[in-house]
Symmetry: C2
DNA sequence: CTTGTATTGCAAACTGTTCGCATTACTGTA
DNA sequence: TACAGTAATGCGAACAGTTTGCAATACAAG
């Protein structure tokens, strides 16, 4: 069960298993799109199973990110977005309606090699952000009308 | 001269040529690293040639970005960074000291083609963000000591 | 069950950014 | 060059997202 799984994840991190933390992680599971602190807050408030303070959510996002259970996604919004840190992938965002989609394709290695070869300053690369922005088909057809 | 050049850029945009705007653009020219509103504010305050209000800087960053004179750079900081919109390039940031470097290498086309081929939702891609994060050689050698 | 400490909730603080409004200064025209 | 109309500025206040201090709570180890 999910509860069990998230509990074990938290235990492995060496942090306490609180109902707030499990609840937050469960929210990530529901939708596969990156979500903000406020977004999580909204989902939990609506579900009414657990009441979690917004500050608690922010604090836990930090904890969970530090332990790499979740990761930040940079999609140019006005708030920080996070998603479960499972498999490596990137995103494309519709700048018209905000829809997102993930894609597994990643050639960061190629980029990194080139950069390391050419740069004197940087020989160690640890992370990369690759995000695309466009117009989703739905918005395209809307705009044609 | 720079003044002249930036004036003409602003005229082409169809906006007024104010000393504040020219001053802001001149700040971008000095350093080739992305800079924030507060950063520009600091530079201008120190230079003492022109006094520009912070709100004015924010407003102008919006105007200049809208006209593609400058562009936003997403480097995960806590404030928005911008740089002159000249030639297309990407950045690598040292997560230890904050140093940045630009690189021209870009294979976004390849990524975009793959995504468009695989995605049903997205056929139109307009922009991309590709940023690398690592440790610069200086910080690497420091950490070894 | 008891105890020690990590975590929570709540309120207040903080930071980066935006906005309203009166004043100023560009720019086009005469 | 003078003038008028309007875009842009400065200033203060507002705002959104996020962080923090502190007392109360609830995990987890013994
Ligand atoms: Mn995703
Ligand atoms: Mn650059
Ligand atoms: Zn990747
Ligand atoms: Zn590119």
């Amino acid at each position: 069960m999910k509860h069990e799984y998230f509990s074990s994840v938290l235990k492995k991190c060496g942090v306490k298993v609180t109902k707030q933390r499990v609840a937050i992680l469960e929210v990530f599971e529901e939708g596969c799109k990156p979500i903000s602190a406020e977004g999580i807050f909204g989902v939990l408030k609506k579900s009414k199973k657990v009441s979690v303070d917004l500050a608690t959510i922010y604090r836990n996002l930090q904890v969970l990110e530090a332990h790499k259970v979740i990761r930040r996604v940079d999609l140019r919004g006005d708030s920080q977005l996070y998603e479960l840190g499972g498999h490596h992938h990137h995103h494309i965002l519709c700048t018209a309606c905000g829809a997102t989609e993930g894609f597994d394709f990643c050639i960061a290695n190629t980029i990194e090699k080139h950069v390391v070869k050419q740069s004197k300053k940087f020989k160690v690369i640890t992370e990369h952000a690759v995000e695309l922005f466009g117009i989703c088909s739905e918005c395209v057809s809307k705009s044609k009308k």
